[in-house]
Amino acid sequence: MAHLICRNVSMSYEGRTVVDNLSLELPRGAYLCIIGENGTGKSTLVKGVLGLKQPSSGQILFGEGLLQRQIGYLPQQSTRHREFPASVREVVMSGFLNQHGYSPFYKKEEKVRAKEVLSMLGIGELEHRSIQALSGGQQQRVLLARALCAASSMLLLDEPTAGLDAEASQEMYELLERLHQEQKMTILMVTHHLAEVKKYATHILRLRGDGYFFGTVAEYEEEVGKNG
């Protein structure tokens, strides 16, 4: 049984098909990188997996007891939070809400964990700052911290390194690798960094206008070797 199953999934906007008849099975603990040029439907597929957008046909299923509330999500960068009054701590803590049921208050362990995640991402000292006052890269890390707090078995990241400098982006890959290795987290990431994909990913999904490739990294190399 796989952690995530897509069966003949198509997704469209007002009749225009963006993802066409895609099927894949992702085992638990996999590290999938989704690559492809802009506009090939990477973000759309991620939204499909999260249930934010319904497929126009086909099915997206969770397996092995995966629940929506065990998922963490980092949306593709937007400037939406520029004017929102919220402290970094408030934003990061909000990641825990999906594990709460009806209990209104955050637990002590969660407060401790939030601090840990922040310092792991190198922004521990920003805890009490307002999100408005941060740079794009700092905001991105705060949202990543929120995603990490929300994720207990799967993490979906849509271009997580956009807006980060080379060094920070490298740290991000190493951090994700640790989560993958140590916590057996299933990771789905949209990215453009082919070198890192080959180094860390277990599976690759490559979307193009006229089809897709899905397979392990070794299979991908073979495919690319064949077709150039």
């Binding site: 999260l50 249930g51 934010l52 629940l67 929506q68 509330r69 065990q70 998922i71 963490g72 999500y73 949306p75 939406r80 939070h81 929102f84 009054p85 919220a86 402290s87 408030e90 934003v91 803590m93 909000s94 990641g95 809400l97 999906n98 709460h100 209104p104 208050f105 955050y106 009490h128 700052r129 307002s130 408005q132 006052a133 929120r146 929300a150 979906l156």
Partner: protein, 274 residues
């Protein structure tokens, strides 16, 4: 001031207006925080116009205003939240449309229906004289509900207000929450528009948050400051209205604007320290 306190004890209508008004302002401000930050400010405006239409209709049909207005405004609130969410019809255009149509229907009913004897002015711009004993009790119940909601669901309110998409993506149910907000919003607007007027009630929803945002940079800070601003703005507005005989709703709006200007200046002088 002394005059006002004297009057407060001698006129039942004035103490009722003060108590009900304070509670409604508090509710409007707290719900307003979430509405303004989600960029739904215009919904409050639209709903109050729908409320006016509904009250006019109730008067023409000889029904109690609240029993017609609350359900009508509630349905409108749910529809508007859905429109704005789905992006099918442009949200702000839909709101402008619904709101002007409802207002027009109300005005036509008031002008034309036989035997309707309602004071258009008081419905549009509010009146201090209209708060009844039952309005006061409704306000108490509403305020209790809103306060319990705010404390009990505080983290949920923040999470959904900050990023509803993230909340849904990570398995937080948002539908029930949005409905609850719509219900409380509808009741707040219908109760509040009696005193503040249907054209002015939305200001009480929006202004406190805008002022609070000049001073505070965290959600908790903004929420608390908005509640304080609302209480302050209402009290000063009511006193001015009483002492100078100015229309109550308009006085409250102008006071709120003055507070906004002051907070904007303070925000400029003392920008965030970090």
């Amino acid at each position: 001031m002394v005059e006002f306190i004297d009057a407060l004890f001698s006129y039942a209508f004035l103490s009722r207006a003060l108590a009900a008004g304070l509670l409604i302002s508090l509710c409007a401000a707290l719900l307003g925080v979430s509405m303004v930050l989600r960029r739904y400010s215009m919904i409050g405006d639209g709903l109050s116009h729908v409320g006016f239409g509904a009250v006019a209709l109730a008067a023409a049909m000889n029904l109690a205003p609240l029993t017609v207005a609350i359900p009508v405004v509630l349905v409108a609130a749910l529809l508007l939240l859905r429109f704005t969410g789905s992006g099918k019809l442009k949200g702000d255009a839909a709101i402008a449309m619904i709101s002007s149509v409802a207002l027009s229907i109300g005005v036509i009913i008031v002008a034309k229906a036989d035997g309707v004897n309602i004071d258009l002015n008081s419905y549009l711009f509010g009146s201090i004289l209209v708060i009844s004993e039952s309005d006061l009790w409704l306000s108490v119940i509403l305020a209790a509900a809103v306060l319990v909601l705010f404390v009990g669901l505080y983290s949920r309110i923040f999470t959904i207000t900050f990023d509803e998409t993230f909340a849904r993506a990570t398995g937080v149910r948002t539908g029930a929450f949005n409905t609850l907000i719509a219900v409380l919003m509808a009741v707040t607007i219908v109760l509040g528009m009696r005193m503040m007027g249907s054209l002015l009630i939305s200001a009480v929803i929006i202004f406190p948050t805008l002022s609070a945002m000049r001073l505070c940079r965290s959600f908790k800070g903004v929420t608390i400051a908005a509640a304080l601003v609302a209480v302050l703005g209402f009290t000063i507005g009511l006193i001015i209205s009483f002492v100078w005989g100015t229309p109550v709703g308009a006085s409250i709006v102008v006071v709120n604007f003055a507070i906004f200007v002051i907070t904007a200046i303070i925000g400029r002088i003392y920008p965030e320290k970090h």
